[in-house]
């Protein structure tokens, strides 16, 4: 770090070196600028939204109807749909992802790992729009044939949620495997020495030891599921609706933003401002989740380093 003292001519550091360092520093600072711009723009446009006489903050937070046409701006239906899809996604993604991770790190031979890990990478590299197509053309017809066409609408949150679960599966599996793999081998050996079987070692030693890393993974996956857009835009339907039935169509926060902005919305209209207000909420939720996840995983690194 202190290379200056290593140089015989170190005292007069060359001017262009300083310039280059400054430029590189500014590039790095650009990332702060991006975060600040995101926050600034979302807050500014949301302020315009909430200062509209039709919109009251209390109604926004507690209202059960989102119908901008007649001046109803209650965002609970949108939030409810987002939570429904994310919850279904977590119910599918967390156990499956965790089991795959355990299989990869505790059971699979090197050869099988060599095949499975690239497969997961392929699954993770497929664009989300393809998953959306999958939800629409495979998952929805499947649900409709299993539960009956009368019970399952053509657009529904269950199909979107299940496919988001598949989407986050490879991400959970990869990160969870890293967390499990970071548990020192000594802990496993100690457990075997005490007579623990492999499964007991896994569940009672390895998993608890990697719990912070795993929770960080799950939080990040939840954040990803909440922010997921194209799957819900295609599969969960247009039109906000407050419903607890996952087989009914209901629009999520992200689905609403995409639908409104896709229709050439005019600036300074209430529609234009509303997508930024929803964006702000989305940003706050996901940013908090990401930050918490980061905090937890940095604690976890201190444990074994």
């Amino acid at each position: 770090m202190h290379e200056r003292s290593l140089h015989p001519f170190g005292k007069r550091k060359r001017i262009h070196e300083r310039i280059i360092e400054t430029i590189l520093f500014l590039f790095a600072m650009l990332s702060i600028l991006i975060t600040v711009s995101i926050a600034f723009i979302l807050i500014k446009e949301s302020y315009l939204f909430f200062s509209d006489p039709d919109v009251r903050l209390l109604d926004f937070l507690t209202g059960k109807k989102w119908q901008p046409m007649i001046g109803l701006f209650g965002f609970l239906p949108l939030l409810n749909a987002t939570l429904t899809t994310s919850l279904i996604a977590m119910v599918v993604g967390i156990p499956l992802g965790l089991f795959v991770a355990i299989y990869l790190s505790e059971y699979a031979s090197d050869r099988i790992r060599g095949i499975l890990k690239p497969t997961l990478e392929v699954l993770a590299g497929i664009p989300t729009i393809v998953y959306g197509y999958f939800a629409l053309t495979f998952m929805t017809p499947l649900l409709r044939s299993v539960f009956g066409e009368a019970n399952v609408e053509i657009y529904n949150t269950a199909s979107a949620g299940l496919v988001i679960g598949i989407l986050v599966l490879p991400m959970i599996a990869t990160m969870a495997e890293d967390a499990i793999g970071a548990v020192p081998q000594e802990l496993r050996l100690a457990s075997y020495a005490l007579g623990g079987t492999r499964i007991e070692t896994t569940f009672e030693v390895v998993i608890p030891a990697s719990l912070s890393g795993l929770s960080a993974t799950f939080l990040l996956a939840l954040s990803r599921a909440i922010g997921e857009t194209m799957i819900v835009a295609l599969a969960s339907g247009a039109g906000p609706k407050l419903t607890a039935n996952p087989f009914e169509a209901a629009e999520t926060i992200t689905g609403y933003i995409v639908r409104i902005s896709g229709g050439d919305v005019s600036y300074n209209s209430i529609d234009y401002n509303s997508i930024f207000a929803l964006g702000l909420i989305l940003f706050i939720i996901t940013f908090t989740l990401n930050l918490t996840s980061r905090k937890i995983s940095s604690l976890f690194h201190q444990e074994y380093d």
Partner: protein, 422 residues
């Protein structure tokens, strides 16, 4: 030790055996569950690919608006028309407006047979899609397909591969039989180019600062944390950022009206430049993180030897560190760009065009991209568009495979070189 039924802390030997068997069984059951989950993940991948392939091929039931036999007596298929018959039918049956446009592009007499056939199909015979089937139905349920074609009067069946040569070169068309992805494909390439030009220099520069210059102080720790956070911000938020900043606030710049001669008045900031910059912001944190990983892999001894022979900090970075990590940086960048290639939501939010048939000509053109095209087609209720979407997904996946192979190729070349060195 005559008494085998020794009382131990855990009960008798028999008890222990039962307990041991139970523990073993639990282990086996769980192992089966783990294996099952893993198999399930692979099955999902296969189903995903199969459902795409399924809709890209299959039978189509068509009905002609004008039967070829009514144009030339006794010929049921346009393929049977002779050259002169083709020319005369084209002259007689194309409406005067279309004929004038066609003639001004290229005179009928100079056009190839194939060209004339597709011209006649498009403007005179006008086959309409009645129903489409996927590959699975086409293979296993042929009877139902034929049944349908019999019940619909004047309909006929053809087996169509939705992904074909015409699909790649045709532009968007309202007619699913003649729609293609050329415009979207070119749009994607333009966008990726802008994304690369913007995010690569800045991303690598920022990574060099963080990895080579930055000291462990509060500011730099915040920078690092911020970059990790940005990489996990939902892509739709970047779309909102791009909409407010590039499309709206910087409209003069991104629409090209600042440089009036190049301006494309209709694009009003919803241009390739805006799209590319938005995706550039999106992949910037990913490129920074990947490049940092690449720089971390360069051994400190290389830097020290460079300093040892009197090189400055920047000389060391430029002549030693960057060449040593170049291929890794490139691999990371290609992977980040392939993420940008598949992004849909931010581009929809900044207002990519839904229907354009003009190829993009520069950074100030309106645009559509492959994923947006897929989105548009999937969202339509008519069956034929679903098939088109499936074919477009195959095209997108092929493009991604090419990019990823390039990344893997560079990575492998790197490890080969390393092996030779050691």
């Amino acid at each position: 030790m005559t008494d085998m039924q020794t009382q131990t802390l855990f009960g008798t030997d028999a008890d222990i055996n039962i307990l041991m068997n139970k523990r073993k069984r639990t282990g086996m059951i769980w192992q089966a569950v783990f294996l099952f989950s893993t198999t399930l993940a692979i099955i999902f991948l296969l189903l995903l690919l199969l459902s795409v392939i399924d809709s890209s091929f299959g039978y189509v039931a068509l009905r002609n608006e004008v039967e070829p036999s009514s144009l030339i007596e006794g010929k049921a298929l346009i393929k049977e028309f002779s050259r002169t018959e083709l020319e005369s039918t084209a002259m007689d049956n194309l409406s005067s407006g279309i004929l004038r446009r066609v003639e001004s592009e290229k005179p009928i007499a100079q056009r190839s047979d194939h060209d004339l056939v597709s011209l006649l199909e498009q403007y005179v015979i006008k086959p309409k899609v009645l129903k489409t089937w996927g590959l699975w139905d086409s293979l296993t349920n042929t009877r139902a397909v034929e049944e349908y074609s019999r019940t619909e009067s004047d309909s006929y069946l053809t087996f169509k591969s939705w992904i074909n040569a015409e699909f790649f070169v045709a532009d968007q068309s309202a007619d699913p039989l003649h729609a293609g992805i050329r415009t979207a494909f070119l749009g994607s390439l333009w966008i990726i180019l802008i994304t690369f030009l913007f995010s690569f220099p800045i991303g690598v520069g920022a990574a060099i600062y963080l990895q080579e210059y930055a000291q462990d102080n509060r500011l730099n720790r915040i920078l690092q944390l911020n970059i990790f956070n940005l990489s996990a911000v939902p892509s739709i938020i970047y779309g909102l950022l791009g909409l407010a900043v590039f499309v709206r606030a910087m409209q003069g710049f991104t629409s090209g009206s600042m440089f009036s001669s190049l301006s494309d008045a209709t694009a009003n900031g919803r241009t390739i430049l805006s799209g590319g910059l938005t995706l550039g912001l999106l992949v910037l944190p990913i490129i920074i993180i990947n490049t940092q990983e690449a720089l971390k892999a360069v051994p400190a001894s290389l830097r020290m030897s460079s300093y040892g022979i009197g090189a400055t900090k920047w000389q060391t970075i430029w002549y030693q560190v960057l060449p040593a990590s170049g291929e890794r940086i490139l691999t990371g960048t290609i992977l980040a760009l392939s993420r940008a290639l598949g992004e849909t939501a931010p581009l929809v939010v900044i207002g990519a065009s839904t229907f354009i048939s003009v190829d993009p000509t520069g950074v100030f053109s309106k645009f559509t991209t492959l994923p947006i095209q897929i989105y548009q087609w999937s969202a339509r209720p008519q069956g034929a568009y679903r098939n088109l979407a499936g074919a477009a997904i195959i095209a997108l996946l092929i493009l991604l495979i090419i990019m990823n192979s390039a990344a893997i190729y560079t990575r492998d070349r790197l490890s080969k070189k390393k092996r030779l060195e050691s």
